[in-house]
Amino acid sequence: MPENSKLNLDRGYKTMLLSVKDLSVSIDNKEILRGINFQVNPGEIHAIMGPNGSGKSTFASVLAGRTGYIINSGEVIFGGKNLLELSPEDRAREGLFLAFQYPVEIPGISNATFLKTALNEIRKYKGEEELDAMEFLALMKEKMKLVGMDSALISRPVNHGFSGGEKKRNEVFQLTVLEPRLAILDETDSGLDIDALKIVANGVNLYKGDSREKSVVLVTHYQRLLDYIVPDFVHVLYNGRIVKSGGKELAFELEEKGYDWIKEENKEPAAV
């Protein structure tokens, strides 16, 4: 049982934005997630940390709806809906956003056209009016300033020829335009130097602001990002389970002690 279990107490089904119960997932007959329990309320920032191979990216991918995984058991409720039954596009339309660890390049469609199409599909779904070209351009200009995005990159094909840092910044840019209820950032800090990291973090913070309507889940290996995006809760994922939860101090403890301490505490009994 994880410590600080009061953090994981059922805080009321109706108010919860994301509720993951006993989620167990396999790839190719190998169990990667072994019963994840995890909740996010509106307005919270959570960090999920863990050593490589713990299942962090798998968790993010399963929430976004990537195929290739077998859901063995468990349930995920997002905004009152059964998330695992929704298509990837419906999850996005319901307000879930995944900032990819390795964003793909799509030559032949510009960042602007892609984003405009996505935003309007989401607005249509919510019964809102679609933005025309002028309105969208105005919105984009506003958001580009927030993230410090070079306007020349907007008319370039999606992520085409972008450096690693530019791709991550583009993920955060999309985030600010689409304004999801829940943003999951999958190792957004990996491969970034300190300056790029600050820009990305700034974008996320500006997007989140003080809003009680927006929540963020940061999936990260290193504590560094959490200096700039300060989490309300930190969880440690090890061997497919959340084995520890705490406040932001937990991140400092991990930084100091490394993950061996966690591994020691959660050593599995030898099979007979």
């Binding site: 976004a64 195929t67 990837p88 996005a92 995944l98 793909v104 032949g108 469609i109 892609f114 599909e121």
Partner: protein, 448 residues
């Protein structure tokens, strides 16, 4: 209705058609043009239609198309209103929106002055009908045409045997023609299956610039067979951009040959965009007859259902310091079949040749198929040549990325297919034409 003949008599059938056609020609039998026709029909009788044993037709079997006896349009009965009623509204359907052009319209291979729109005060360019020129007793064709090397192709021979009408576009030296010339071929009969064989000539004088659009459309439900030949002569330093749009009915066949002769420092740019057709075969042949020339050949073929689209190109670097560049892309779905065969010949004295070729294909279904074959024959030693071909499917990761942003699966697919096509469409320098083609692609994709 034509009867389906004994298969071995197909060549005879068209030969007797030629005889009937000849009978209808008054006073033309002694002309040099008719001499060429006679030589051509002899060649056709010798060659017949190409079989799959012919290396150039290995992947394209035309026998099924030829099961129907197509009546040469010259022999069709025009008097009893068997041609569908066409007026300017029909023509409007096939014009490129927002694009001003010099329009010349052919109905079943015959020039139609009423439907055409050739300004009476054109400077620097003459747009005429071949039939009118021949009626006037002119032998101009044989004067201007370089003596042909032996005809090796049955379809080309048949076209030349029936030479009677087509567009003659002559651009004067130094003329820069702003408005593109649109050659529009409308074909079809409500009661017969027609064989329509336009023979076009395009002459670009020294330093001239002109854009030529050729489009082919069906105007009736009955299948027809187009066998067209365009001969393009580009003088020193002239530039021609040629856009060929094939958006015909799914039942029709089209064999389309473009032969280009390039003089020193000339530039030939070609776009072959094919959306439909039971069987479409495009041959583009260009030869550098002077140094420093350029040839840029682009192609896009979208095939679904049981369509068969075959693009053959041949670039003959017969002179030094010339540059050729080929980029063809195919998108194939259902049981469609695509063929790309790009031949580049670099002759012994063609030093400093640059020749690049690329063919990329996207297969959208399990049964779609493409045969892609580059052929480079290089006899010079100071050259830079490359070729590449790919066949692939839609990238799953790209589809997921789009869906993860709220774009539905079908729309994501359309976007990616469009993105794939954009490499070719974006090269087109006429904005309304780009717009028109992008819309056509979307229309086609929504049916896919």
């Amino acid at each position: 209705m034509s009867e389906v003949p004994d298969k071995t008599n197909i060549t005879d059938y068209y030969y007797s058609g030629f005889k009937l056609f000849e009978d209808s020609l008054n006073g033309q039998l002694k002309t040099k043009v008719h001499q060429l026709r006679n030589e051509a029909i002899k060649d056709f009788s010798r060659l017949g239609f190409p079989a799959v044993s012919n290396e150039e037709w290995k992947y394209t079997n035309i026998k099924p198309i030829l099961k129907v006896n197509f009546k040469p349009a010259q022999l069709a009965d025009k008097t009893t209103g068997m041609f569908p009623a066409i007026n300017s509204n029909t023509v409007k359907l096939f014009l490129i929106p927002e694009l001003k052009v010099n329009l010349i319209v052919f109905v079943n291979g015959v020039y139609n002055s009423e439907l055409s729109n050739i300004p009476s005060e054109l400077t620097g360019i003459k747009i005429e009908s071949l039939a009118d020129i021949l009626k006037g007793g002119s032998d101009f064709i044989t004067e201007k045409i370089i003596p042909e090397s032996k005809i090796n192709d049955g379809f080309a021979a048949l076209n030349k045997a029936f030479t009677s009408d087509g567009a003659i576009v002559t651009v004067a030296d130094n003329a820069v023609i702003d408005e593109p010339v649109h050659l529009m071929f409308l074909s079809g009969s409500d009661s017969e299956n027609l064989l329509v064989q336009p023979h076009n000539y395009i002459f670009a004088g020294r330093n001239s610039r002109v854009k030529i659009i050729e489009s082919f459309h069906s105007i009736s439900e009955n299948a027809n067979l187009i066998n067209s030949l365009s001969e393009i002569f580009i003088e020193e330093n002239a530039r021609i951009t040629h856009y060929k749009i094939q958006n015909d009915s799914a039942d029709s066949g089209q064999v389309n040959r473009t032969q280009v002769y390039q003089q020193r420092s000339s530039v030939f740019t070609s776009f072959a965009i094919t959306f439909d057709g039971a069987l479409v075969r495009n041959d583009i042949y260009t030869v550098f007859q002077g140094e420093g020339g350029e040839s840029h050949l682009y192609g896009l073929y979208l095939a679904n259902g049981k369509s068969h689209i075959d693009n053959h190109t041949m670039i003959d670097h017969a002179a030094a310091r010339c540059q050729s560049n080929e980029f063809y892309k195919g998108i194939l779905d259902d049981h469609a079949r695509g063929v790309f065969n790009g031949k580049v010949m670099v002759r012994r004295d063609a030093q400093k040749t640059l020749a690049y070729q690329s063919n990329k294909n996207l297969l959208l279904s399990k049964f779609a198929r493409v045969d892609t074959k580059p052929q480079l024959e290089i006899f010079a030693d100071d050259v830079k040549c490359s070729h590449g071909a790919t066949v692939g499917q839609l990238n799953d990761e790209s589809v997921f990325y789009l869906r993860s942003r709220g774009i539905g699966a079908d729309m994501a697919r359309s976007i990616l297919i469009n993105a794939f096509a954009s490499d070719i469409i974006d090269q087109i320098d006429i904005e309304p034409l780009r717009e028109y083609l992008n819309n056509k692609i979307l229309d086609k994709l929504n049916k896919v």
